[in-house]
């Protein structure tokens, strides 16, 4: 594979960003041109990605690694040196296809969705910049370059969540996303420091080669053995992944991130950026296998999956349900990579990108029709007025619920099946989550699209299906969302996807038990969830919020309020830091103590100076008087003491 191809792939969205960013003044009046530039930039990347993908498909040795991918020396000083360079293998091309494929469709969709928005040009500039940063993240051949992309997508996420910056809640959410992600980045940075101390490099190939060579090639940084060092390094990196991929306890930013435009939620907060953490762990598979810390990853993953699914049960905001669902599904991916089934984790990443991206876009289509209404209790019966939206959403929901033969069915089942071989408790929690997933997703469907219409009359008259530029991407996305599992996933560990990525990942143990049996169990659980949702919500909206004190104490009230996690963070972390900084550090210590001492010293000198100044009265008689006293004392001393 040629380096030039990858450079074009990478630079194209950057050029799009620069055009829309620098010439926004001239492009402002011309939505068509602005949107076309944005979409075209990603389309070029998509073509390049397809070429790269096909190249590796034909010849699995056609990867771009090591010196071949070198572009230029970025930072060098002393023993430290890191390049700008590419690493393109099967895993990379899979990610590239997801980013540019879903990305392109979302750009096209946005042309319609953002129509009439004041910041149209700015929107496409940011979106292109995001794609550029995301491409750096997956193309880099070292951890630092991954980190560059990692922070870059974080920045774009910040800008796009707070895109409607006049809205306080939007800019709050953007800031929260950036800061919570920075907490994760803190771990990522320390993880990189540990890796550099251990391997004297941040380069993927160098690190993985040394790791495979054995302990002699690795410096001990923590503890007594290289294993402890690797454990520390991989866990620190995982902190970064927890932040970026919104896992417990740092998931709190993702639901708030729904303040951004809906296509942004589809692209950044469902399909691509939030999966970066999964990608990072899959990329570092060698290290996680050696350190044995995957078990932590898997547990955090499965607990997050369950926790977020529970919260999703009681939410009434269409986007927030999808957001919690994303957190939950990311948890599955972490289970996959955590138990060593890297290919299965990435496979779920791919299917999820399609079906969740699709669902967000359909949610956007619903909002578009409903004058930006988000509350599903104010919807109902929409399937007649929005047939395409309904049909495509149904495809997505069936896929995530694990309906047989649809994409989510294959990938989720692979993860659960592998989990059985690793830990039965994880399997059971995962299965329970699958039931909840089917339930909350079909609760959403039934309340939104079925039953009687609860749409407010003045809105009702305007409800309409979206324009072609919006529904066409939905239909196109619905195809892979439904079928990609069938194409890539049939055969479990012998599937096409596993063969394609076999050079990248360490060989996983074959999970015990019959594949068909596990598939059957998963299917039954999924269908049961759907059926249960049907019995409860087929013609009924979720209950209004309880008002009496008794009801407020029960579990469902706790769930509806998301376990008060945000409030706990705010009361016990944010406010104490703010208050301590203001009152203790600034007012008391800085102004009071330090400046008090400084000014006190100055005042003391002034007082002493003032005392001496008294002597300089300028009155000649006083000088003569003191002189006479002096002479008298002097004489007295001589007369009485010297002799």
């Amino acid at each position: 594979m040629s380096k030039e191809l990858i450079i074009i792939l990478l630079i194209s969205p950057l050029v799009g960003f620069l055009i829309n960013g620098l010439f926004s003044k001239w492009l402002k009046g011309n939505e068509k041109l602005s949107g076309t530039i944005g979409a075209l930039a990603v389309f070029i990347s998509l073509i390049c990605s397809i070429i790269a993908f096909v190249t590796i498909n034909i010849d699995s040795n056609a990867t771009l690694e090591g010196d071949d991918g070198f572009v230029y020396k970025w930072i060098a000083g002393g023993k430290f040196s890191v390049d700008i360079g590419f690493h393109v293998d099967a895993l990379t091309t899979v990610m590239l296809l997801v980013i540019t494929g879903v990305g392109f469709l979302i750009h096209v969709y946005s042309i319609g969705y953002m129509h009439g928005d004041e910041g149209y040009t700015r929107y496409f500039a940011y979106l292109n910049l995001f794609v550029f940063a995301m491409l750096i993240l997956v193309l880099g051949n070292n951890y630092l370059m991954m980190f560059v992309g990692w922070e870059g997508v974080g920045l774009c996420s910040y800008l796009l969540i707070g895109f409607w910056y006049e809205k306080q809640s939007a800019t709050d959410a953007g800031k929260k996303a950036f800061i919570v992600n920075r907490i994760g980045d803190f771990g990522f940075l320390l993880g990189m420091f540990t890796l550099f101390a251990a391997f004297e490099s941040l380069d993927f190939v160098t690190i993985f080669d040394k790791a495979e060579t054995g302990t002699s090639a690795i410096n001990v940084v923590f503890g007594e053995t290289t294993k402890v060092t690797l454990m520390v390094a991989t866990l620190l990196l995982f902190v970064g992944a927890v932040g970026k991929s919104a896992q417990l306890p740092l998931y709190v930013w993702l639901p708030d991130a729904m303040e951004g435009p809906t296509p942004v939620s589809a692209l950044i907060h469902a399909a691509t950026m939030v999966t970066a953490g999964v990608y990072m762990i899959a990329r570092s598979a060698v290290l996680y296998n050696l350190a044995g810390t995957g078990v932590v990853v898997a547990w955090i993953g499965v607990l997050t999956a369950l926790f977020a699914a529970i919260i999703a049960l009681k939410q009434n905001d269409i986007k927030r349900i999808l957001a919690y669902s994303t957190v939950s599904q990311l948890g599955y991916m972490f289970v996959g990579v955590g138990i060593g089934a890297y290919a299965s984790g990435i496979f779920h990443l791919v299917t999820h990108a399609f079906f969740k991206g699709l669902m967000f876009l359909t949610a956007g289509s619903v909002m578009h029709a409903m004058a930006n209404e988000l509350d599903i209790r104010k919807m109902g019966g929409l399937r007649k007025k929005l047939p395409i939206t309904h049909a495509t959403f149904l495809v997505g929901a069936l896929a995530i619920a694990g309906a047989p033969l649809l994409s989510g069915f294959w990938s989720k089942d692979e993860i659960l099946h592998s989990a059985w071989g690793s830990s039965k408790i994880i399997y059971i929690i995962g299965l329970a989550t699958a039931f909840l997933t089917a339930f909350y997703m079909f609760r959403l469907i039934f309340v939104t699209f079925y039953g009687k219409s609860r749409v407010e009359p003045e809105v009702d008259s305007h409800v309409h299906e979206s324009p072609a530029v919006m529904w066409l991407p939905l239909v196109i996305l619905a195809v892979p969302a439904a079928l990609i599992g069938l194409l890539l996933g049939v055969g479990g560990h012998d599937s096409w996807f596993h063969h394609f990525t076999e050079d990248v990942f360490p060989k996983a143990d074959k999970a015990p038990g019959s594949v068909l049996l596990f598939m059957a169990i998963s299917s039954i659980v999924g269908i049961a969830g759907i059926a249960f949702a049907w019995t409860r919500y087929k013609d009924r909206a979720p209950a209004a919020e309880p008002t009496n004190a008794l009801q407020k104490k029960d579990f469902s009230w706790l769930v509806a309020n998301k376990f008060y996690v945000d409030e706990i963070y705010n009361t016990f972390i944010v406010q104490p830091i703010k208050n301590a900084s203001h009152f203790l550090l600034w007012k008391l210590f800085d102004v009071g103590i330090i400046d008090g001492i400084v000014n006190g010293v100055a005042a003391l000198i002034r007082v002493i100076g003032g005392l001496f100044r008294r002597l300089q009265t300028g009155v000649v008689q006083a000088y003569i008087l003191s002189m006479v006293i002096g002479i008298v004392l002097f004489l007295a001393y001589y007369l009485f003491f010297v002799n």
Binding site: W74, V148, G162, I179, L190
Partner: protein
């Protein structure tokens, strides 16, 4: 001669303005700007004339003339890969400042421009001096124009601020003067920095005499309280120069004097110094977070940023020291730009209070974009300048630091806190609903854009191609690093004051090699 030309050309501007009294303000501004721009252009010659691959030279472009022969004082100047960048930073920021102050000086324009140019000469002299006496002269001389800049063109409490600033610095200078004299007598009655080497008696005290002077200038926590006052009262340009260059005098002094002259004392005192540095990083960030005044916020953020630099300097790690030097330049650019931006909205709104703003992004999109980039640079976003320096400091300190890794862990929390205080400030100023009183604020004009764009160019350049800047300083940093790493071979820190017999030859050898190199350099 090139170096002297760069140093004294601004002084020529001072004389020109003084002689051509009665000229219109535009002529005065024209002269000042042309002279400072010319200085910058000529100073680029220092970069092109600098041999980055020369491994055996200590200082380049050396000039040496006897000055006060009887006392062994000479006019001895030269540059290395470290001072090179600080000189270029100075010559770069001065014309930017003059352009920024184009319309903001209402009274005493001549005096203002003269002070600014005189200040430039003083600052350049500090970075070039290789004679301790000459260094001290420039160090003190620099205070005078700064005193005027704050005291005459400053805000309401300018007298309090300027006296605080001068007294704080003087307190340090007095200690340093004692240190310089002690070195003079131990060094065979010579002030020549290049011949100073090896071991001094009472080196621990001497180290402290120098270090405290520099720590005040940096400013290292808890010597920092002059900074917020000085910044708030100083005119915009004064703040830019103060943050951009003057603070670097402290860190420059550390790397030029404290570390290479007293490596063992430096190692001995490292624990508490880096503790203060790390406290400064976190403390500065937390206090910055709650400031209601934009300038104070930026001032406290400097305390935090400079904490990183001090941490890196005392880490004994080549990478971290190099990162620190780069970070000095980075901080000068980003914080300088932040003060310029704050000054620009101050000129429009006559307020620096965060609560008075909000929603400016809607009214001033160009301002908002530039402000965002500078904010991100200050936060340390990869791809922009701040990240490279910060990363190298933290990585070097973590991997090879002469202290526990916990210091680095705590320092790294500064990365989170920087995002907190900067983004919160940015949100409150730029986002939200536009206030009625701010509805008529005009966006940046072309002069203001011309002031900021050159800084942005460097912010991106250093972020994307940092090696342009890292490479020329490589050898100079290596020299400092090897010097400070010597005490590391001693068995225990406690023995530093009483060095064992075995180390002496090693150190001597080092010294001799160094001296011979310098002689070669001088004969060139």
């Amino acid at each position: 001669m090139l170096l002297s030309l760069v140093i004294f050309l601004p002084l020529l501007g001072v004389i020109a303005i003084a002689l051509l009294r009665g000229m219109g303000p535009s002529v005065v501004k024209g002269i000042a700007f042309t002279i400072s721009l010319l200085t910058f252009v000529i100073s680029i010659g220092l970069y092109t004339g600098f041999e980055e691959t020369a491994t055996d030279t200590a200082f380049q472009l050396v000039e040496k003339e006897n000055w006060i022969t009887g006392l062994g004082i000479s006019y001895h100047i030269g540059i290395d890969g470290i001072s090179l960048w600080l000189i270029l930073l100075t010559t770069f920021l001065t014309p930017v400042c003059i352009l920024a102050a184009w319309n903001s000086v209402e009274k005493g324009l001549n005096g203002f421009m003269m002070s600014l140019l005189a200040l430039e000469t003083g600052m350049l002299g500090v970075f070039c001096s290789l004679d301790l006496f000459l260094f001290f002269v420039f160090w003190e001389a620099m205070l005078i124009p700064m005193y005027f800049l704050i005291g005459i063109w400053g805000g309401e409490r300018r007298i309090y601020a300027t006296i605080k600033f001068v007294l704080y610095t003087m307190a340090g200078s007095a200690l340093m003067l004692v240190g310089i004299l002690a070195l003079y007598f131990q060094n065979g009655n010579s002030f020549d920095l290049t011949t100073l080497s090896g071991r001094f008696t009472h080196d621990s005290y001497l180290f402290l005499a120098f270090f405290i002077a520099f720590a005040i200038k940096v400013p290292l926590f808890p010597f920092h309280t002059w900074l917020p006052d000085a910044h708030v009262e100083a005119p915009t340009v004064g703040s830019v120069i103060l943050a951009g260059v003057l603070l670097k005098m402290g860190t420059y002094g550390i790397i030029r004097f404290c570390l290479p002259l007293f490596p063992e004392a430096a190692a001995l005192h490292t624990p508490w110094i880096v503790t203060l540095a790390v406290i400064g990083i976190i403390y500065g960030a937390l206090v910055a977070m709650v400031q209601p005044d934009l300038k104070k916020l930026v001032a406290y953020s400097s305390v935090s940023h400079l904490g990183f630099v001090v941490l890196g300097l005392f880490s004994q790690s080549h990478e971290a020291i190099q990162g620190s030097v780069l970070q000095m330049v980075n901080h000068g650019l980003s914080t300088g730009a932040l003060f310029l931006l704050v000054g620009m909205i101050y000129e429009r709104r006559h307020s620096r209070m965060i609560v008075d703003f909000g929603g400016l992004a809607k009214r001033m999109p160009i301002f908002a974009s530039i402000f965002l980039i500078v904010t991100l640079s200050s936060i340390g976003l990869p791809g922009l300048n701040g990240f490279v320096g910060e990363f190298m400091i933290l990585l070097g300190s973590f991997v090879e630091g002469a202290f526990s890794k916990w210091y680095v862990v705590f320092a790294t929390t500064g990365v989170i806190l920087a995002a907190v205080y900067m983004l919160w400030m940015f949100q409150r100023v730029m986002f939200g609903k536009l206030d009625k009183t701010n509805e008529s604020l005009p966006d940046l004009n072309s002069r203001e854009i011309a002031v900021l764009v050159p800084i942005l160019v460097f912010i991106v350049w250093i972020g994307v191609f940092p090696n342009t800047f890292l490479k020329p300083m490589e050898t100079s940093v290596e020299k400092v690093a090897t010097k400070v790493q010597v005490p590391r071979s001693t068995p225990a820190v406690g023995q530093v004051n009483n060095p064992g017999e075995t180390q002496k030859p090693l150190l001597k050898q080092n010294t001799e090699i160094r001296l011979s190199h310098e002689e070669e350099a001088q004969t060139k």
